[in-house]
């Protein structure tokens, strides 16, 4: 079965600083990978996804993520964080083919300080 690890429970960055949120997965084949953002009191919004091809994927709101097979990682990055980026971020992995169940990580809560 697949699994996802987000090692950072909580991260604080200054507005304008760069951001990297870590995600490691465990899955035997090539996974489908996702990053979602959840603002307080809201549902989850898809930031970006990786299925195949270029390992650097661009998403909405200026986010990008890089798939590194050798490290089983799919880290999320943003060059300059805005106060509105404060939210909880979830990495998720899906199985290729078949039922395609998606497993979510435990989330990283991002705080942005002025």
């Amino acid at each position: 079965a697949q699994s996802v690890t987000q090692p950072d429970i909580h991260i604080t960055v200054s507005e304008g600083a760069s951001l990297e949120l870590r995600c490691n997965y465990s899955y035997g084949a090539t996974p489908y990978l996702f990053w979602y953002v959840q603002s307080p009191g809201q549902g989850l919004q898809l930031l970006l996804k990786y299925f195949s091809g270029d390992t650097l994927v661009q998403g909405i709101k200026g986010f990008e993520a890089e798939f590194k097979r050798s490290q089983s990682s799919f880290n999320l990055r943003k060059p300059s964080v805005h106060w509105s980026d404060a939210a909880e971020y979830f990495c998720a992995v899906g199985m290729s083919g078949g039922y395609q169940k998606v497993t979510f990580g435990t989330g990283t809560k991002l705080q942005v300080i002025p």
């Binding site: 489908y32 996702f34 979602y36 009191g41 809201q42 549902g43 989850l44 919004q45 898809l46 996804k49 299925f51 979830f90 899906g94 395609q100 169940k101 998606v102 979510f104 990580g105 435990t106 989330g107």
Partner: protein
Amino acid sequence: SAVISQKPSRDICQRGTSLTIQCQVDSQVTMMFWYRQQPGQSLTLIATANQGSEATYESGFVIDKFPISRPNLTFSTLTVSNMSPEDSSIYLCSVRLAGGYEQYFGPGTRLTVT
């Protein structure tokens, strides 16, 4: 993408009662899912709502406690039965579009059981 609405957005219920949550999608979708997000936790898949047949439940979730209906390709309900305070969570509906792998989420229903 898909626009997903859920009703109610929040509710406070007494122990021992039941609550039915509705999920409406603006387009026909092949797969609909119900998740639970307990306070400060990640998402846990409850079941996959299958159109015209019984839902497929994940380990630890049973039909008697979480009966699900899916009468057509745009609508589903989740009932939380005989509630206890441990059922206090956010319940999220999500969908996957035909030919896609990513899931889209509704805004969630915040349930508090007293």
